[in-house]
């Protein structure tokens, strides 16, 4: 620093033409000026006192001023005496720096040197006489000396400005680093994706809150552990091998690509997750960041979609099949009837043909049920008496009821604002009759004699819509919880016969009427099918 500073000083000396004659002039001035020192100093501080901006750094009162006066006195003596060597320059620079540190505005320093210059020139004129030709030369030398001092002070101010800028820059970059870190932390802490970093040995270094949620571990339970703890077999074993193979060969298996893998939660549940891994090298240390997303829900949806696509395809095939089956069944029926005519005098053969007929009718019904379920619903709504529809459905079951002991009753219940329920609903009579027939058919199949069937009607307001609730209760064994949950599923059946579509068709029809259908176990454990139908289709 000093080296540079002194060189700088010398350079300026040369620039302003400071030479030995100037030093001699100063030596000439020295004895004349020193006696004026006290006056100069008191003038200096008097003037500072008048300018609050200049004196604001003087906070120590008279005591400080006294001290400062001594410093100034010394500064003045050294100014005149020299020697103007490296030590001198260094000392002057420190004085400048003291001013910088105590916050004196540079402009007041320049101003005070200027005032000093003016006072000194007065003294010089006074001592040597204005006409004296050497007077101006002496003054020139004195001015050069003062300018050189100002140059040193300026340097210290400049140095301070550089430092200040550097500090400001560093603060600024620290601040933006902090902001970036905070932002990153916020992202890492709030993202729904699990973010896990591991070192190249597979040891977990960070574990974000989403990862905690996904895997069920708290971060502190995982940090320092091998990441294999988050994987089910066989990944657990294979992961270390992956890592070491990657360390040795650099062949990437997963890095940079996302892929679906299995994850293992703390409670031992294996789930589908999407994992993408990226590699980061910091100070020659290699890290891997894994981003984990729990996709079990998506997987389930995909599977459901696949299932429903499969069902749709089956449905389409079945519709075609059911249609084509009619032709085949017709041929069979035609031949069967002709056969019956030819064997009508052979009782044994007639018995067999009758059985064929029954089997064929069953087959026909099954095909029709599948076709009905698979084909689009076409409903035409009209105002129907639901009670009448149920009784018609019941009458149509007369063949099935043959020989059974059955008590069939209907009850109308009062409800809020209605003494008797309103049985008239907007419905497709054929579809709803089909629904009631299916439900009643199931009831007959499930119950042993004597069967008791009760139909309860109640008017209700459901989601602001005036509706009719129809409860069909029997005295059968009721539904167990699995049946209750799955009864409306396609191909679910408890009977040994049937397609398992009957109740699914019911649900489809009822929902097409904007109604609901549920299976329940009634008070005495018996079965109850509860339907609601809106009075009007919206």
């Amino acid at each position: 620093m000093q080296g540079r500073l002194y060189q700088h000083y010398r350079d300026i000396q040369r620039y302003i033409g400071w030479d030995e004659s100037d030093e001699q002039n100063i030596l000439l001035l020295l004895p004349k000026l020193i006696p004026h020192t006290p006056d100069l100093i008191s003038d200096f501080y008097n003037e500072i006192g008048k300018h609050p901006n200049a004196s604001q750094s003087i906070t120590g009162g008279e005591e400080q001023i006294l001290r400062l006066k001594k410093t100034l006195e010394q500064w003045f003596r050294e100014l005149l005496r020299g020697p103007y060597n490296e030590e001198y320059v260094s000392k002057r620079w420190k004085i400048g720096n003291t001013h910088v540190e105590s916050g004196v505005d540079q402009i007041y320093l320049i101003a005070s040197v200027s005032r000093m210059r003016w006072k000194l020139s007065e003294i010089v004129v006074e001592e040597f006489g204005e006409e004296n030709h050497c007077c101006s030369r002496l003054m020139d030398s004195l001015n050069k000396l003062l300018d050189l001092d100002l140059a040193i002070i300026e340097d210290s101010y400049q140095a301070e400005r550089v430092v200040r800028t550097q500090i400001a820059d560093r603060l600024e970059s620290e601040r933006s680093l902090q902001i970036r870190e905070a932002r990153l932390a916020a992202i890492v802490n709030t993202t729904v994706d699990g973010i896990i970093t591991i070192d190249e040995m597979g040891t977990i270094e960070t574990f974000n809150p989403a990862a905690e949620r996904i895997f069920g571990y708290r971060a502190e339970e995982t940090i320092g552990q091998n990441v294999a703890m988050l994987m089910p077999d066989p990944y657990t074993q294979e992961h270390d091998a992956y890592l070491s193979s990657y360390r040795e060969t650099g062949v990437e298996k997963i890095i940079g690509k996302g892929r679906e893998v299995k994850g293992l939660t703390k409670d031992g549940r294996i789930f589908d997750m999407e994992l993408s891994v990226s590699e980061v090298t910091v100070d020659d240390r290699r890290f891997f960041t894994g981003i984990v997303r729990d996709i079990s829900e998506r997987k389930r949806t995909e599977e459901k979609l696949l299932q429903s696509e499969r069902l749709a395809a089956i449905g389409k095939a079945m519709t075609g099949l059911a249609h084509e089956s009619r032709n085949a069944l017709q041929r069979s029926q035609a031949n069967l009837e002709m056969l019956i005519r030819r064997v009508q005098h052979q009782p044994e053969a007639i018995d067999l043909t009758n059985r064929i007929q029954i089997a064929q009718d069953d087959l026909h019904r099954l095909y029709e049920e599948v076709r009905e379920y698979a084909s689009p619903i076409r409903l035409s709504f009209q105002i129907c008496d639901v009670g009448k529809l149920i009784r018609e459905a019941w009458n149509n079951l007369s063949i099935r009821r043959n020989g059974r002991v059955i008590d069939f009753q209907e009850q109308e219940h009062p409800s809020e604002g209605r003494r008797i329920p309103r049985l008239k609903c907007q419905a497709d009579p054929f579809a709803m009759q089909r629904v009631f027939r299916n439900v009643l058919e199931n009831t007959l199949a499930a119950c042993e004699d004597p069967v008791e069937i009760e139909i309860h009607y109640t008017s209700k307001i459901i989601r602001n819509v005036p509706s009719l609730e129809i409860r069909i209760a029997d005295n059968g064994p009721g539904f167990d919880s699995e049946v209750r949950e799955r009864i409306f599923e396609e191909f679910f059946t408890t009977k040994t016969h049937g397609t398992g579509l009957g109740m699914a068709i019911c649900k489809r029809y009822v929902e097409a009427h904007q109604g609901t259908i549920d299976a329940n176990s009634g008070e005495s454990g018996c079965a109850e099918i509860i339907m609601t139908l809106p009075e009007k289709i919206s």
């Binding site: 249609h323 084509e324 009619r326 032709n327 069944l329 017709q330 041929r331 069979s332 029926q333 035609a334 031949n335 009837e337 002709m338 005519r341 064929q360 026909h364 076409r378």
Partner: protein, 194 residues
């Protein structure tokens, strides 16, 4: 026992043709034609004059609905369709061609028996209604002619309306011809005079 009908049938499947022939005969009808496609059915019907057509829909060459349309174009006869299909489009086409019954396969003898009975009854009712409508239309037309003849008589013979009508009646009685015929003659004569 229903009356014996002359019936034309068509189906592209041999079992159905055999079955319909045998079953309809058993029901006392006379199967006058058994076709295996629509075109054959139309050709045979144009010379055989059946009283009822029973046909499958989906057949080669010409389908049952189009065949029914062609058969009934000039001389309407009742048609029963029997099909494995019953989609909306087919039903609409069937309605347009005045088909009276539509049976969905597989059918049994009883289905046929009931359908034939119903269809023939309905067809006769339709025919009666058509006849009635024709008669009414004719009566209305005749009345217009008689009115014109009356006005000719009123103008030429200077008669009032009642006398003109009586004159017409008298001529009809004297000549032993229908009043409408006398009216036509008068109108023709009037046209000749002008």
């Amino acid at each position: 026992m229903t009356e014996s009908l002359k019936i034309a049938v068509a189906d592209d499947e041999v079992e159905m043709r055999d079955y319909l022939r045998e079953t309809l005969s058993l029901l006392g009808h006379h199967v006058i034609c058994v076709a295996d496609n629509g075109r054959q059915l139309v050709e045979r019907c144009s010379c055989e004059q059946p009283e009822l057509v029973i046909t499958d829909i989906k057949m080669p060459e010409l389908d049952g609905i189009d065949a029914a349309g062609q058969i009934c174009k000039d001389n309407p006869i009742p048609v029963i369709l029997i099909s494995a299909y019953h989609d909306h489009e087919l039903l609409e086409r069937a309605v347009l061609e005045h088909v009276l019954a539509y049976l969905v396969k597989p059918i049994k003898q009883a289905d046929l028996e009931i359908a034939i009975g119903l269809v023939m009854r309905r067809f006769k009712e339709f025919q009666a209604l058509h006849q009635q409508a024709d008669d009414l239309r004719q009566a209305l037309e005749d009345r217009k002619q008689i009115e014109r003849a009356k006005s000719v008589l009123m103008k030429r013979a200077g008669l009032d309306e009642a006398d003109a009508f009586r004159r017409l009646q008298k001529i009809s009685n004297d000549k032993n011809q229908k009043m409408i015929e006398i009216a036509r003659m008068i109108i023709t004569a009037e046209e000749a005079m002008q």
